[in-house]
Symmetry: C2
Subunit: 210 residues, 2 copies
């Protein structure tokens, strides 16, 4: 765990925001320095290079993701469906709370060339799959969940739906009743709507009830 000072955190925060909006190559270190109100040289001074800064942004969020996963493993008292529900709730919550970072991840995972970041992304995704799979297969063995479910693709469906909704927000928001909603209340509305949709979807495919 690395501890950054205020200025370093400001740079990381601004970089995350700008990388998300304009992409890594679409953002210059001068842009970052200007918005973060620091000298251009400070970025090289603190992080070494622009690439290393991106890595810092990733490590900063990924460590939290790792902790997030381990935290989810517990609670064996819940029923399989309850476990899936809390899993959905927490993923939706987490991903809507770090939308900028999710944008960057969405972009980076498309890159053809392999990189340390590339590996990190797929390692974490693999760990999340390793978390979800036993919940489902155990419930299948116990006769609680239906068989014939493609767990990998179900995971993909969850991530894909949340990822897809992030850039689509401004379209949803054009509905007249949502237009003059506070930013925070809209996020809450979206969180609930996403969560409800995914739970219905998962319940329908996993159990045969509604």
């Amino acid at each position: 765990m690395e501890d950054y000072n205020e200025k370093q955190l400001a740079i990381i925060s601004v970089a995350e925001k700008l990388f998300a909006e304009k992409g890594f190559h679409g953002t210059s270190v001068r842009d970052i320095a200007q918005v973060a109100e620091v000298n251009i040289a400070m970025i090289s001074y603190y992080f070494g290079s622009k690439d290393k800064l991106l890595e810092a942004v990733f490590r900063h969020r990924m460590e939290a993701s790792r902790a997030f996963i381990n935290e989810l493993v517990q609670n064996d008292t819940m029923s399989p469906l309850e476990k899936i529900y809390t899993l959905i709730d927490r993923f939706v919550n987490k991903m809507l709370n770090e939308q900028s970072f999710q944008c960057i991840m969405n972009r980076e995972q498309l890159n053809g060339e392999k990189s340390p970041i590339h590996n990190l992304i797929w390692t974490v995704k693999g760990e999340m799959l390793g978390l979800m799979r036993p919940i489902i297969t155990n419930a299948q063995d116990a006769g609680i969940f239906h068989t014939g479910i493609d767990v990998e693709l179900l995971m993909t469906t969850m991530f894909g739906t949340i990822h897809q909704i992030i850039p689509a927000q401004h379209i949803l928001r054009k509905e007249p009743e949502l237009k003059n909603m506070n930013d925070e209340t809209f996020k809450e509305y979206l969180r609930l709507r996403l969560s409800t949709h995914l739970k219905k979807l998962f319940k329908a495919i996993l159990t045969h009830e509604f």
Copy 2:
């Protein structure tokens, strides 16, 4: 409908591939010129600028998307579920056949700044939603589909799942039985697997059968 000569089509094709792999800003016009085996100046000569080239790539694919949508509207003899099934089949097929372009679209829709391309993306997506919604709502009115379905999010789920599987392919492929599969047969395998998963998902949430 614009007609391009061979050289222009080569540039568009190479640009699509490289933009998909490395992003728009991550690809230089020199890269494109080199791979397409044309002089750098020809890109400006034919398309005006790098931005216009991206627009050309988009128009080239988007016109096909428009035609694709209009083609789907027909066939009123099918049951609602059959309509949804063919919709899924054809979307999966289409998107897996133009993966490079889907990568570019995935990237571009994340951009903060609005652009002609941005508008085009969301216009087409809106048209696709306008195609799916009546199928579902009509079936709901007829009592065939269950109510309480978030059509917008169901659409998002379909697009999100397919979009998400494109960069995740090389992970799925690490399974021993898929490792030494022909590229084309793997694509066929993936097409079937995706299609099956989405149909099960949609059938489960729309009807209450399995």
